[in-house]
């Protein structure tokens, strides 16, 4: 039992100290005066004050959550402990908790809330595009919506699968009781929550006009809302770096005895390859944004061509991060899909080594393709054949993933459960996403498609059609394990079919609209595209409504119906399904031993689930 303390460290103290910290920083920042710095006293624009305020606000928030307690205690000579893990009850979800399962659920809810906000922005964007002329938002508000939608989604979804599911299940899958750095694990989550809140404050400072790419010089000249973008993405980058580092350290050092690399479930491989990208790419983002912040405050000229800098520098640095970033979004989805297909085909994963090669091949190649975003920018025109080749080469490892997915279906006994439907939809959506990507990788074709709705529809096919569908597959597959209660299957199937049809009805026509000449991020468009845009907008609203079906399912089945899921509702042979639902606080009583095969399906043609061999023989945890 814990001692009662006068002040508990939890979300409430975090928010209070965060707000106090923000205003202290705001005041401190206004004390900085130098003749060489621009101040806009008449407009109230003081970027220095805002950056300092964000910094002190985040520090206050983290101190209020209790992140300073342990370092201080260690400095005072107290012994090391993981006391934060011992807490019980609902309160542990509202503060610093080092239990990887609690962090997983925190991620699911916290990220889910911000993604919901990002989705609402998309609805507002599509509302404006019902008419080719001005309808609801002025230019600035429209661009702010576009920027908030893109930035929120790209920032939050980077951890959309690794946050909830890798944090929860990777330690279980490798037979560890915790992550390598449990406090850093909690820190990655709370940094994201601070970041999301900061991004929303852009609305209070006039929004920002640059979209999620933040190209300089536009981002240097933009108003104070831009600082919210910079602070958001830098914090997301920090969270990603730490998350990747933590995952790699965990998988490298904490695998159970006998669990060789070739015995890891493919989801762990998806996590490892994503973590490599996070660890190597996200620091580039942080440095780039630091340079941008200096350009905006201290008038350095990194991205100002008249001061010896170059806008190309920003574009290059951003995409050196940005292209691995889109694979940070794609790889976890591949891991999920290849994890789900064996379970619901009742077969081993087909071509395990090929799939791992595919994941690692994508990881390597994704660092070599970034200038395909700059094909018409005029930089390095003589290198375009190289970037065309390297971009098209990525379709080889991606093809490995496809052939492994297809091969797993071969001669299986396929059950079309809700998670399986989402996994199969991934195959279809990612196929279209990949094929449309070929047009963008080919320079002559890219001349038309670059910067158009075509490229926007392309990456929505890969990210929403890929990652988000895989995310929902994972939710339907693993949520019963995380909470102990089933999700309603009929509502789940309704959600799937509405979402799948509305998704394709939204982004399929957008490919055509892009081909017909509509640029991205415009508030007005040519009149002859109105009919198509109306169709897309209505489809997008239906797509948004499908999310409400999901929320209704979540609330109904987890709060009201509460049907116990049992330990293994899917007949899966993965280790987490050999444990009770929800997984007990200490995971295992004894570290389990693992067999040579993560997918020991097959050969059981008479017996049911009960007669199947489990993948592992974990010691039964005591109740």
């Amino acid at each position: 039992m814990r001692r009662r303390r006068l002040v508990e460290f939890n979300l409430l103290t975090g928010v209070v100290l965060g707000i106090v910290g923000f205003y202290v920083g705001w005041w401190l920042g206004h004390l900085v005066k130098a003749p060489s710095l621009d101040y806009f006293d008449d407009t109230g624009q003081n970027d220095i004050a805002l950056f300092v305020a964000y910094f002190t606000g985040v520090v206050g928030f983290l101190v209020g959550l209790g992140f300073a307690n342990y370092p201080v205690q260690r400095m005072l000579g107290k012994p090391p402990s993981l006391r934060e893990k011992e807490t019980e009850g609902i309160g542990r979800y509202f503060g610093l908790c080092t239990d990887h399962k609690v962090v997983g659920i925190q991620y699911l809810i916290g990220i889910g809330a911000f993604i919901f906000i990002g989705g609402l922005n998309a609805m507002l964007i599509r509302f404006e595009l019902l008419r080719p002329t001005h309808l609801a938002w002025n230019g600035n508000n429209y661009l702010t919506l576009v920027g908030l939608h893109g930035t929120m989604m790209m920032g939050m979804m980077t951890s959309g699968i690794l946050g909830p599911f890798a944090n929860y299940f990777v330690p279980l899958m490798i037979g560890a009781r915790r992550m390598a750095f449990p406090r850093i694990e909690a820190l990655t989550f709370w940094l994201l929550m601070a970041a999301g809140t900061i991004l929303m404050t852009a609305l209070a400072f006039g929004g920002f006009p640059t979209g999620w790419t933040g190209y300089a010089p536009l981002s240097v000249q933009a108003n104070m809302g831009m600082d919210a973008y910079i602070a958001f993405f830098a914090l997301v980058g920090l969270s990603m770096t730490l998350l990747g580092l933590n995952m790699l350290a965990t998988v490298i050092t904490m695998r159970a005895p006998g669990l060789a690399w070739g015995r890891l479930p493919i989801f762990v491989w998806g996590t490892v390859s994503t973590s490599v990208l996070m660890l190597l790419a996200a620091p580039v983002l942080i440095s780039t944004l630091f340079m941008l912040a200096l350009d905006r405050t201290a008038q350095t000229g990194f991205f100002n061509d008249q001061a010896g800098g170059s806008p190309y520098l920003y574009e290059n640095l951003f995409w050196i991060f940005g292209h691995p970033e889109v694979y940070i979004l794609a790889l976890p989805g591949m891991g999920i899909v290849l994890e789900l297909l064996p379970v619901f085909s009742r077969k081993p994963l087909w071509g395990y080594r090929l799939a791992v090669t595919g994941l690692l091949g994508i990881t390597l190649l994704s660092f070599l393709v970034w200038q395909h975003h700059l094909f018409v920018s005029g930089i390095n025109a003589d290198l375009r054949p190289f970037y065309m080749l390297s971009t098209e080469l990525i379709s080889l490892p991606t093809g490995f993933i496809f052939v492994c997915a297809l091969g797993t279906l071969w001669a299986g006994r396929i059950r079309l459960t809700v998670p399986m439907l989402f996994a199969l939809a991934w195959v279809f959506n990612f196929l279209i996403g990949g094929l449309s990507g070929v047009f963008l990788s080919d320079v002559p074709s890219d001349v038309t498609t670059h910067g158009s709705f075509f490229s926007m529809a392309h990456f929505h096919y890969t990210i929403m059609g890929g990652l988000v569908f895989a995310f929902f597959g994972a939710v339907y597959y693993w949520l019963p394990k995380m909470t102990g209660f089933e999700l309603d299957e009929r509502l789940g199937k309704l959600h799937f079919w509405v979402m799948f049809l509305a998704f394709n009805s939204t982004f399929g026509p957008l490919l055509v609209i892009g081909f017909l000449g509509m640029p991205r991020r415009v508030v007005t468009y040519a009149g002859y595209l109105q009919g198509a845009n109306e169709w897309v907008s209505v489809s997008a609203f239906v797509l948004g409504a499908s999310m409400l079906v999901f929320v209704a399912n979540l609330v109904w089945s987890q709060v009201f119906a509460r049907v116990p899921a049992g330990a293994n509702p899917w007949g899966s042979k993965s280790i987490e399904f050999q444990l009770p639902s929800p997984v007990p606080v200490h995971d295992f009583d004894r570290i389990p031993t693992f067999g040579p095969d993560p997918y020991p399906y097959g050969g059981i043609e008479e017996a049911g689930f009960d007669g199947t061999r489990p993948a592992v023989s974990p010691a039964r945890p005591t109740p």
Binding site: R346, E392, P444
Partner: protein, 278 residues
């Protein structure tokens, strides 16, 4: 249950039939309608390029869709089989090699084809930087495109550097667009010409095109450049030589009084914020 040979033959047959049906549709129906239309030789070869991409993709797409459809029909668990496993297959060397070989062949073909097209078309209408690798023969007419928030203006250096707000080009001429910007990054997108080139401050980004027929075309900004980006569009014209000569002469007369306020023609400009025209 596990006589899998029949499944393979059926999928192969369905893929072949499907490809045989879809491929002519792609070549003869979809292909000619691919963007950006056949307004210029560059645009025409982009249409060809898009068609070739579609042709290469078609067999793979048909195969994957046929396979998905077939697998979900033939390999569904029948009622009463829910607890049973499928065949314990862990891979098939020959089909993996076949897949790898066919995708590699397709990718290498696409890369080589794209490179050939890019070089043969002198950058294929895309911005090729200040020193394009390949240049068209003859003397193309230089037209400078200046992006600024939030409009494009056009300078004709061979006509005394006159600057206009509309883009007019003579027909049957090779054109060299010199694209630059005064502030943020813009992108000059002349859709029907098949031209797109980013306008970067301080950079002379060159894109080549040859006008073929008298027509109008749409010009848009394709790179987010701030508040009025969505309104940054206009219409350009390809006109006969005689019309162009009289148009440019009229513009020279019209703008003669204000020419002294324009900076001297240069490949890029450093706007002086303290300089006020007029």
């Amino acid at each position: 249950m596990w006589s899998r040979r029949g499944h393979g033959w059926r999928i192969a047959a369905l893929t072949t039939i499907g490809t045989a049906i879809v491929l002519p549709l792609v070549v003869f129906v979809l292909g000619p309608n691919m963007p950006p239309g056949k307004g210029t030789p560059v645009a025409t070869s982009q249409v060809t390029d898009n068609t070739v991409l579609l042709v290469v993709m078609t067999p793979f797409t048909v195969f994957i869709l046929v396979y998905l459809g077939y697998a979900l029909t033939a390999f569904r668990a029948k009622p009463g089989e829910e607890g049973l496993d499928g065949a314990p297959l862990r891979g098939h060397f020959r089909s993996q090699v076949a897949w790898l070989a066919s995708t590699t062949a397709a990718v290498l073909f696409l890369a080589i084809f794209g490179t050939t097209e890019l070089l043969a078309d002198n950058g294929a209408g895309g911005g090729a930087g200040p020193n394009p690798v390949t240049k068209p023969g003859g003397a193309p007419l230089p037209v400078q495109v200046i992006g600024q928030q939030w409009e494009f203006t056009y300078r004709y250096p061979t006509y005394g550097g006159v600057e206009t707000a509309t883009l007019v080009l003579p027909v049957g001429r090779k054109i060299a667009f010199h694209v630059t910007s005064l502030d943020a990054i813009h992108s000059f997108w002349a859709y029907e010409l098949g031209v797109k080139a980013d306008a970067n401050p301080g950079v002379d980004n060159i894109a080549y095109v040859e006008t073929k027929k008298i027509s109008t075309f749409h010009v848009r900004c394709a790179e987010l450049c701030g508040l009025w980006h969505g309104y940054m569009s206009d219409t350009g014209h390809v006109v006969s030589d005689a019309d162009f000569a009289s148009w440019i002469a009229a513009r020279k007369r019209q703008f003669a009084p204000v020419m002294k306020y324009l900076p001297k023609y240069s490949s890029s400009y450093n706007p002086d914020p303290t300089f006020r025209a007029g």
